[in-house]
Symmetry: C2
Subunit: 197 residues, 2 copies
């Protein structure tokens, strides 16, 4: 992928070597800190772990949200890609939808605090919210439509709404042994089955 990630750049601006290295160091440090302290870890912790100043972090990632996006971009993309694949290989669209949702839930649940930060109203995290949705809503729409066409689910479900619902259900799933987000999501998915008769 592009290092700068912006514009329709012809000739890459050729960033300095140290800058490039720092960016990677930061990504690694952030990933490590997120695993141990959750996505809400203070920026200072990440900077310290990377052995870098605060200014450096903000030069590369203007906002905490951008750093989070960068860390998880690959996994989100992988999840999105898995959608079409599942649809192609699953026996039924409904099964594909279920498996795909499980993928998403597993992803969220294993990232301490990520789900909580996906909320649209979380000031400063609009970019995160937008990235996840831009990437996943089209896939979800595809799966929902296939299942609806197959008559397996109600046809009036909006992918955006479902994604938000699933994301919400995953909030706090870690850190509370009494709450099993997976089970709740199963109920939600069960709820959109077309009443068979």
């Amino acid at each position: 992928m592009n290092d700068s990630g912006e514009g329709a750049g012809q000739a890459a601006p050729a960033r300095r070597k140290d800058a490039r290295r720092n960016q990677q160091t930061l990504l690694d440090a952030a990933a490590a800190v997120f695993v141990t302290s959750g996505v809400d870890a203070p920026v200072r912790d990440i900077a310290a772990r990377a052995g870098v100043g605060l200014g450096t972090i903000y030069r590369h990632f203007p906002t905490r949200a951008d750093l989070i996006i960068a860390v998880y971009r690959h996994q989100v993309d992988a999840c999105a890609d898995a959608g079409s694949a599942l649809l192609a290989t699953s026996p039924s669209p409904h099964a594909a939808l279920g498996q795909w949702i499980n993928l998403f839930v597993d992803f969220l649940v294993t990232k301490h605090g990520l789900a909580a930060v996906l909320q649209a109203d979380n000031a400063g995290f609009e970019a995160l919210h937008a990235y996840f949705l831009d990437r996943l809503v089209p896939v979800c729409t595809e799966l929902l439509e296939a299942a609806a066409v197959a008559g397996e689910i109600r046809p009036d479900i909006d992918a955006y709404e479902l994604m938000r619902g699933v994301g919400n259900l995953c909030i706090g799933a870690d850190s509370d042994p009494r709450y099993d987000a997976r089970r709740m999501v199963e109920l939600l998915i069960a709820g959109l089955r077309r009443p068979h008769h």
Copy 2:
């Protein structure tokens, strides 16, 4: 109800008159601020609105969470009480459950930011979390059991889990016109219907 709310007090400790008045002023100010700025409004805003210093607020409500609890205590209690009533007057336990959940959802959705703060992992808000659950889980358990006994829903649903799921679904429901928490909760409730054979 008791003003102090603690102990099995015989003779009221007779707080000073100004203290009592300030407590009420604060409650009113907080309620007003919560309506306009949401439950996340800075403590300073509430103090200012009440025309009172910060020390005063913390004397009466040791923590932001305590203030929130105090403001909504009545409504939570009312919701809890409505549970038994609905069960007594509804045609079926399942109908009662549905109506009761709707009551709860309406309550959460109309309180900007409340649902988001109910999370167990929200540091400092354990008291809020605990109050809501202590009050509502028993009612929910009662409704679930009645519906389960009537054979209308799956018998393996835990009230705590369901309450958390519903609460989670309500997060950010205001502030996002594209997301309708009520619809998602409906799906969830639909999902716990016993698959009729």
